[in-house]
Amino acid sequence: MFLLALTNGLVIGIIYALAALGVSLVVGIMNVVNFAHGEFYILAGYFSYHFANTLGMNYLAAMMLSVGLVLIFGMIIEVLLIRKTYGDDLYSLILTFILSIVLQNTYLLVFGPYPNKPPNWVKGATNVFGQFYYGNQRLAACGAGLVVIAIVYLMLKKTWFGRMLRATSQDREVAELNGVNTTALNMLSFGLGCALAAAAGVILSPIFPVTPTGGMAVALTAFVVVVLGGMGSFWGCVVGGLIIGLVENFGAAFISSGYRHVFGFIILIFVLLVRPAGLFGNREI
């Protein structure tokens, strides 16, 4: 039981971190909390399902294409809705909150109420520690999650685009003075945030099939992880995801499975009381 909770906690933790990464990025750079994050996740899940199952595409190509389409969709949303709200973080929160409800109901209309699941990449289960069987798809998703996280890390630290993003997230005015086109950058980084949600969506939807209203739970967990880790902090996101994953699974295994999600919230509130800016946050709030 202990080992199962540990394994599941780590795997789910990585997955949480991945889902939260997009939120964290957008908060860090634009100071916008995207309430509709989960809906972008769901959209990518539906896309990859329909590309792979309805159109018969290769699952990898379906995933890539879905992420790309959500990236573009995210940029369109930025232009239409988010651009007007810069500087007023609550305004963007309210707008994206309404957007999330609109998207949920659009999905219900377009994709129908049934859960949709893209094909598994791998089959079967692996016997872990000789103790229990663990789904291969979950292990694969965990691996894919790690790969995406590593790519994001390298992109932030090593590329020209990443430097520009970090410069902007530290001091927007200075970045502007140094010739960074922040309008274009905002559009790109919002799109990127959505694309990360999409990446989480295509990786996870074979395990947890997508439903029109499924995005809210994803977004909630992502918010908890981001606030816990500290808004805009890369490592905060990863560590926060792991903490929440482990706490929830150990809580569910040894205390009460019904209160699984409450354990995460309680940890969050304790951390906020001690460190109002989260574990890795240093921004003045």
Binding site: D89, I98, Y259, H261, F265, I266, L268, L272, I285
Partner: protein
């Protein structure tokens, strides 16, 4: 000037007083629901529109009011007439606590924390189904011995008027001035002697208590208290109504609540589409007219007076 306002208010209240005579049962029901949303939006507006604390736990506080009174009625046989005040008190106490918890947080941190609080509350209701009956809903006794729509209409009307009077008094007193100062610039307000902590916690407590009141009366009107009352969907409605009406103005949420509730009754005929239509209206209002109907009217007025 002040007199015209008072007279106008009296006329409207009077009109409402005789309204049930001209309405059928269904229309009376719609009016009662409208009044519930008036209370919810106006009290959320007190917190979000006047102190800038965009809480996502407002519906949860309505739930606290409703469940406290409902559980007391079902488990202890307490009359709702006593249960509702206790629910209000309990909501106020929890609101005070959440206000304290969120003190050091601003803006989105506060919003996300209240979201968490609301979620915890939701999970507790779902898990303690032996007490709350979970998603199944708690069937509670009514406020009236003999069920009567007209009776409930008047109860709701009186409660709404009392709530609105409390809110009106607050925003036009020194407290309201401090609320707005805190919302505009917390640091500047503190430097000018505004006790920011007291003001923020006060706003949370009062607003939560009013939500608890609205939830309690509503629950005992529906005779059924479910996790829908403290749900995020409900929060969405309250937020949309306030924004569409006009956040930060006294009359805005009242207009928003009536407009959207009546509108949603009309578009309900479209089945699955109604929430979508509702959301699209809210979205375009929030995007293109962030000050709501009141803002539009004011802008129109300003235009006319300058031209």
């Amino acid at each position: 000037m002040k007199n015209t306002k008072v007279i106008l208010a009296c006329i409207i209240v009077g009109l409402f007083g005789i309204l049930p005579l001209g309405l059928n049962v269904y229309q009376q029901h719609v009016m009662i629901v409208c009044l519930f949303y008036v209370m919810m939006s106006a009290s959320w507006n007190l917190l979000a529109g006047y102190t800038g604390q965009v809480s996502f736990a407002h519906a949860a506080f309505a739930g606290i009011g409703a469940y406290t009174s409902g559980i007391l009625a079902v488990k202890a046989g307490l009359s709702p007439w006593l249960g509702i005040p206790l629910g209000v008190l309990f909501a106020a106490v929890i609101g005070f606590g959440v206000g304290l918890l969120c003190l050091k947080m601003g803006g989105i941190y506060l919003s996300l924390t209240t979201l968490g609080v609301s979620e915890i509350f939701h999970i507790i209701i779902n898990n303690e189904y032996e007490i709350t009956r979970g998603t199944m809903g708690l069937q509670v006794p009514g406020l009236l011995v003999e069920y009567s729509k007209t009776g409930y209409f008047y109860i709701m009307l009186v409660t709404a008027i009392v709530s609105l009077l409390v809110i009106y008094w607050m925003i036009h007193s020194n407290i309201g001035l401090n609320f707005r100062a805190v919302q505009n610039d917390e640091k500047a307000a503190a430097s000018l002697g505004v006790d920011v902590i007291r003001i923020r916690v006060l706003a949370f407590t009062v607003s939560s208590a009013l939500a608890g009141l609205a939830g309690g009366v509503y629950g005992h009107y529906l005779l059924l208290i479910t996790p829908e009352i403290p749900s995020l969907d409900q929060q969405f409605l309250v937020l949309s109504m306030t924004i569409i009406g006009g956040m930060g103005s006294f009359i805005g949420p009242i207009i928003g609540a009536f407009t959207l509730e009546i509108l949603s009754e009309y578009i309900r005929g479209y089945g699955e589409y109604h929430v979508l239509v509702f959301g699209l209206i809210a979205l375009s209002m929030a995007r293109f007219a962030p000050n709501g109907v009141v803002g539009l009217v004011q802008a129109g007025w300003a235009k006319r007076s300058t031209s």
